[in-house]
Assembly symmetry: C2
Homo-oligomer: 420 residues x 2
């Protein structure tokens, strides 16, 4: 029998406890032994949610319980769970976590700390999709060329609605909040931070790159309007929040931002709250993984898969991130300014003669060439100019944006979306 | 150091040998030790393909070599490799195979035979897509409700071309053969047998169901014409060769056939030689896996992932199919005749009065109701009648087909495609 302690019995934790009971037949057959939840830790005992497991309010009751084999950490936050999990490892316990924030900051220390002890984290990226499993174990023969993921269901839900139903950003945000797809403070999701945490975890497995959220380019979808959707439709693009890891020689780009992407790509076809991740390996080519990125049961499915794996394989495990010596020598994070991309720009301008000439001159001075332009009249006074460019350097487009913002006929902060 | 013997150094075997060299940096970092190919076995030494590894023509030189840790079986066929692999296990070696035919017939005996020895077979289903990994390990907390897969690239290439470019079946088959996507004798692919072997392997992991190819419904795409594509387009369907495992109470349906499927489903969007598999779990919901289903390097990517996994985890392993006691009690294969589906029928008829009335009468007598009908004139004498039905029993539709074939004005064997 394997005894589990669940720290944090919220939505996901409750699903973990329930599914371990409801599906105990197949779980026992696959794990090779019975798995029971010995204790759950909650912040307040009133939040017991009608579960029949013994509860405590002190995570260390679980961590220090000699009868518990596997500690499941579902607390949220980064520093408090880090301390708890380290103590669990010190006590020789296997750990399963869904905590992307903790891993975004502490994954390498945790890998060192875990050593031979099983440390699994499938649920930390893309909920129910077994992407860690695929990337770490299924594609292990490959140098990874790129990872392009839709890893935030809130953003994808909102952008899909904007694209297919013409709804305005603010209206759809309210709807998403009412449906429980978006938090009261939606910044973590729509600002790209949630996707960035997940990207950093995947980038470690693929490249061994050590970076923290503050080291990489993170932008959200707050500035997207129906004007941008109009441009996307005209030119055959989908509009997505993408998390991208891309190898370029000895450098790896890591970035999260709204992106226009060819509507024929498989990843562009993923709509609604669903997540999807395209991984290109040097030998396998493109593979793609699709499924629910959130939700109690879907996330618990990943947590329990890890528990079964640990029950099955015993206490000795592969290294947490899938390697135990430098993965590739000399690989380093590319500076944000050195990223190259095609760009889309939206400029609200006063509708007067000579505007386009002055704008074109600025592009030209930074050797950025315009690929396409659309003009969208707002009223008798203002118009939106929608541009796409050929491939340019991030540092050059940023200079162009600054200069454009300073022009007297530019009536609002210019909006830029990268074209992938 | 881990020593591998490769039995069968054809397209995939050559890729295995080359990738183990080319990507030795990451493979060693992930495997935790160096992996080398000690010996390769070929049918004829002239087929050495310029590889620098020692070769033999006797597979048992590898199987009986005490220095070899892992036997990679890439021979093809079912019975000869079965004998070779059993001997390897008897000698205490880990086994990696890409051989779907052997597994379609002998997977349960092999699981018993392997016991605690690692026996991996990721490459046997859907080439480079880590679907075994996902289904066996990633979704292990779930009862699987359905598996719907495009698992034959030849068929998907042909049907995609017929759909998007209007090419006739015979022309596209010739083109596929010229491109190397189809064999000189294409029966194994276009008759559905290749997909059926793969389906049986997945169904064992998902349900513990023991069935052989002859036990299940297997049909191919040979009868598909542009008439069927016309109907599909009119009603918003894609046309695919699908391999389907579906749970219905205590029964599991297993079937491979051409199918019309709602064009908005993710699986319907998979075109060309690519494979894709949708898996619905009772807890996770729908997940989908997409990628290259064939090709030397893509398949070798899966073979080497298994080698790395074995090198990493040592000699004790999870059971081959992912469970070591009955997975679900009382689950059994559903009889072919008991399958229920919606159906599409194409009838070539003499264009004369009263035809539709007689046909409708036959449908009615078997309590099958028609959902839609299209008439497509062939020439002054003949027309094609294209019907879709509401849900009906397979046994009833088969009776209808027989009766329709006997009508004097029916000018060719009726064609039936299931609607999924």
């Amino acid at each position: 029998m394997i005894r589990v302690g669940v720290i944090g019995v919220g939505t996901v934790g409750t699903s973990v406890v329930k599914i371990l009971e409801e599906n105990s037949d197949i779980i026992e057959a696959r794990a090779g032994s019975k798995i029971i939840v010995k204790t759950g830790a909650v912040r307040s005992l009133e939040k017991a949610r009608g579960l029949s497991i013994p509860l405590t309010t002190d995570p260390y009751d679980i961590v220090n319980d000699p009868e518990i084999d596997i500690v499941v950490e579902l607390m949220g936050g980064a520093e408090a769970p880090y301390a708890v999990v380290k103590q669990a490892l010190q006590n020789g316990k296997a750990v399963v976590t869904a905590n992307k924030a903790m891993l975004a900051y502490h994954r390498y220390e945790l890998q060192d700390f875990a050593g031979d002890l099983p440390f699994e984290f499938e649920a930390s990226v893309a909920g129910g999709i077994p992407i860690i499993n695929a990337l770490r174990d299924g594609l292990s023969a490959n140098h990874i060329e790129s990872i392009v993921g839709i890893m935030n269901g809130t953003c994808n839900y909102m952008l899909s609605k904007m694209m297919h139903e013409g709804v305005a950003f603010d209206a759809i945000l309210k709807e998403a909040q009412a449906l429980g797809y978006a938090e009261a403070d939606p910044t973590f999701d729509i600002g790209g931070f949630d996707a960035a945490h997940k990207l950093l975890i995947l980038a470690s497995i693929a490249y061994g790159i050590d970076a923290k959220p503050e080291d990489i380019l993170i932008e959200g979808i707050e500035a997207v309007t129906q004007d941008d959707i109009y441009f996307a439709k005209e030119f055959g693009y989908a509009l997505k929040l993408l998390a991208i890891a891309k190898r370029d020689g000895d450098e790896v780009e890591l970035r999260v931002h709204a992106a226009l992407i060819d509507a024929n790509e498989m990843i562009a076809k993923i709509d609604g709250v669903m997540n999807g991740i395209s991984v290109v390996g040097d030998k396998v080519g493109e593979t793609l993984y699709y499924g629910p990125g959130a939700g109690g049961d879907a996330t618990a499915s990943a947590v329990i898969a890890n528990i079964i794996d640990i029950a099955r394989s015993g206490r000795k495990s592969r290294p947490m991130l899938g390697f135990d010596r430098p993965l590739e020598h000399g690989l380093r994070l590319k500076a944000k300014e050195a990223i190259r991309s095609k760009y889309y720009l939206r400029l609200k301008v006063v509708d007067e003669p000579g505007v386009l000439a002055q704008i074109s001159k600025i592009f030209g001075e930074h050797t950025i060439s315009i690929a396409a332009m659309l003009q969208n009249s707002i009223d008798s006074r203002y118009a939106n100019l929608l541009f796409s460019t050929h491939t340019a350097h991030e540092r050059d487009i940023q200079k162009v944006l600054l200069e454009l913002e300073g022009l007297h006929f530019v009536a609002a902060k210019p909006v830029m979306i990268r074209i992938v």
